[in-house]
């Protein structure tokens, strides 16, 4: 993925030096968030395809309309052919006009075999017949391109279950468009409940979509994202790397270098101290202040977290998109607090709020808002760090 090559620009290199000099808790938090995302997306790349020993192995591609199934069927075939496999493409979309032609043309372009489906045939029968044909002709892998369908279309979902029952595919892969919004949760849940998918392919990653859907997909299905589609051409398919994806989701193309440097420079003890702090819920207003400074560098965080299931509503995030004035004001407010207050905001009653407002040249409403943001942030960090939070994520329940 081109977006993540992440050579720090001259500018961020300068910032990088600052990072080396002093790594604030806020910056460590960025790194922790990054690592957390990587973990949420499975940590390491998934072993690509599990093909059955018994030939032919079979792959079944499923998903909503227009998500890229047919194109990806051809891309996967091409990928396997390059590994020396004999591949058979099976057009099982008899509904969309010319869908069969589309796959036949693509098969011709890459030199794959293709079953001669007719749009008047039943998709289940097409797949069953194709399997027999693939066996007779000695193909190694057959790839079934099913019609796009809505997850709430019971009749059409039943068709997929019947294909699954007849073929018993080595892998059922859910295809999803990287631009998908909140609906990804519902779609992935339904397809997974219905078919018990084996993995996900995220398409159209060549655009500017952050790809936050990757988090939802992984979270609700618990299944690995195996490939990403990065273009319309037949070779535009890549293996999915959680760390690159996390970087992309965080929109830190140029911050990546920074994080890596922070990672290299951060002494382990320091990082662990912060983690412990967060775990024990000791994230103070002082830490919050450092964090704000860091957030400013990655102003896009709100949009990103907005895409994560359950995070969307973190109000604090919105207010994290601080402009310089806001930042100065926040710093002034926190600076006007006593050390005790910074450690324990519960102390800050009405009287104290008035005093802090006077001291920082702000209003009591400003203080209220800041404390609220802080509470939200602290809550989020705590949830994010808890074992329970991670587990809930995996089960597809969102603790926020």
């Amino acid at each position: 993925m081109k977006t993540t090559s992440g050579k720090p620009s001259g500018n961020s290199r300068a910032v990088g030096r600052e990072v080396l000099d002093s790594i604030t808790p806020g910056q460590q938090v960025v790194k922790i968030v990054h690592d957390r995302l990587v973990e949420l997306m499975g940590g390491v790349s998934a072993p690509t395809l599990k093909l059955a020993k018994q030939l032919p192995a079979s792959l079944m591609l499923v998903g909503l309309q227009g998500c890229g199934k047919t194109t990806t069927a051809a891309k996967l075939a091409h990928h396997l052919i390059q590994q020396g496999k004999r591949v058979y493409l099976v057009p099982a979309d008899v509904y969309r006009p010319a869908a069969i032609d589309q796959l036949k043309i693509l098969a011709g372009q890459i030199g794959a075999g293709v079953f001669d489906s007719k749009s008047t045939d039943d998709p289940v029968k097409i797949c069953a017949d194709a399997l027999g044909e693939a066996r007779r002709s000695g193909f190694d892998v057959m790839i079934m391109d099913t019609a796009g369908r809505l997850h709430i279309d019971e009749e059409m979902m039943e068709e997929l279950r019947r294909i699954k029952a007849v073929i018993n595919p080595s892998e059922i892969l859910l295809l999803a468009d990287a631009m998908t919004g909140q609906d990804a949760v519902v779609v992935a849940t339904k397809f997974n409940e219905s078919l018990e998918i084996d993995g996900v392919i995220l398409t159209k990653m060549d655009g500017d979509a952050r790809g936050g859907a990757a988090l939802s997909l992984r979270a609700v299905t618990g299944k690995p994202i195996k490939f990403v589609g990065v273009g319309e051409k037949i070779d535009a398919l890549e293996i999915f790397y959680p760390d690159r994806m996390a970087t992309r989701i965080l929109g830190m193309g140029d911050i990546l270098g920074l994080v890596e440097k922070a990672q290299a420079a951060m002494d382990l003890g320091q990082a662990q101290a912060l983690e412990k702090k967060l775990r024990k819920d000791e994230f103070t207003l002082q830490d919050f202040r450092d964090q704000l400074t860091q957030m400013k560098k990655m102003g896009s965080l709100s949009e990103i977290l907005g895409m994560m299931p359950g995070f969307g509503k973190m109000k604090a995030m919105k207010n994290m998109e601080v402009d310089d004035r806001e930042l100065t004001r926040t710093a002034a407010i926190i600076d006007s607090m006593t050390i005790k207050e910074r450690r324990n905001p519960l102390l800050i009653d009405g009287q104290r709020r008035k005093r802090i407002a006077r001291g920082s040249g702000t209003s009591v409403q400003d203080i209220n808002r800041l404390l609220k943001n802080y509470a939200e942030m602290r809550k989020m960090m705590k949830k994010m760090m808890s074992k329970e939070g991670a587990k809930a994520f995996r089960r597809g329940q969102f603790p926020f």
């Binding site: 909503l64 998500c67 909140q182 500017d208 949009e303």
Partner: protein, 311 residues
């Protein structure tokens, strides 16, 4: 829209269940502890927020809408949840109302529509549905197969042209789309066609060369027929999240979008980003797509849409 509304409520039920339980208790305790805020008030704001975010309205924009609502509520000292909800609905309906502008096709002369959008949003299908609708209304219609890139895109449009019984102008796969459009314009004029609809290949708004190709098609049209294209229709998929705003902006800047179609509203996605698009770009929303059949296209109605959003 009837079927869609029914299904939509399932989504929100589920989401509500899935998202709110644990959260509520936490939020309550912390807020009550620190701010002693009224719990009832908190709950409807939260609920509305969830609804909007699940509908892809976007986190920041949702917050703006809720802030507006709070403001009005505070000014008028309201705390009845029903009234608060109505304030928000009215605000959204008001924003969308301004974009409620059905496509108005003059009865005289050739009217040309160029259909654009990212890959797989439903351009070709929408063209088929429009052709069917226009023909039923008594217009003569012609199609131009200017997606010469995607495998069998021409064949796909051809099926629709036969379904609707309207002619289609084509060249071979790989041909220059501008050349197809050139042919089509001349054919449409010669046959005194009322409406010419041009199918273009899906392209991501970030691909400079492909956007240039589209600009060229548009230029050729204007050169051959002053005023053409009369409508540049951007097809957006309701399943798309916040990226749809970038699509609307970029296609708007590059080829001057004059109307939007929001497709796939028969699913559980609500396409709420359209509200922000309406507010920021003021692009007219012409139609919504609610299925794959020829009659699954509806004129966009702001009230209908707003109601569906809160179902």
């Amino acid at each position: 829209m009837a079927g869609e509304e029914k299904k939509g409520s399932n989504l929100f039920e589920r989401l509500k269940k899935g998202l709110s339980k644990t959260r509520k208790s936490m939020v309550k305790s912390i807020d009550e502890m620190i701010f002693g805020e009224k719990v009832i008030e908190r709950d409807i704001f939260e609920e509305i927020e969830e609804t909007l975010i699940a509908a892809d309205v976007g986190a920041a924009f949702t917050q703006d809408l809720i802030d507006d609502m709070r403001e009005i509520a505070k000014r008028q000292d309201l705390n009845n949840p029903e009234i608060l909800r109505k304030i928000l609905r009215d605000n959204i309906a008001f924003i969308l109302k301004k974009s409620e502008a059905p496509l108005d096709i003059p009865k005289d002369g050739l009217f040309t529509i160029m259909v654009v959008g990212v890959n797989g949003t439903g351009k070709t299908t929408t063209i088929g549905k429009m052709a069917m609708g226009f023909k039923d209304q008594g217009y003569s219609v012609m199609l131009a197969a200017a997606d010469t890139f995607r495998a069998a895109a021409i064949e796909q449009l051809d099926v629709w042209s036969q379904r609707c019984g309207v002619p289609m102008i084509r060249q071979q796969m790989g041909a220059d789309p501008s050349a197809v459009v050139f042919d089509a314009l001349h054919a449409a004029r010669a046959k005194k066609t009322d409406i010419l609809i041009i199918d273009t290949a899906g392209r991501l708004h970030t691909k400079v060369n492909l956007m240039e190709e589209l600009k060229k098609v548009k230029r050729i049209m204007g050169r051959e027929l002053p005023g053409a294209p009369h409508e540049v229709l951007l097809v957006l998929d309701a399943t798309t999240g916040q990226n749809a705003l970038a699509q609307a902006r970029m296609f708007g800047d590059e080829v001057g979008v004059t109307g939007i179609v929001l497709t796939k509203l028969d699913g559980t996605a609500k396409g709420g980003i359209i509200i922000r698009i309406a507010r920021e770009l003021h692009t007219p929303i012409r139609y919504i797509g609610i299925g794959e059949a020829p009659d699954d296209l509806r004129v966009f109605k702001s009230i209908e849409y707003t109601d569906a959003l809160f179902e």
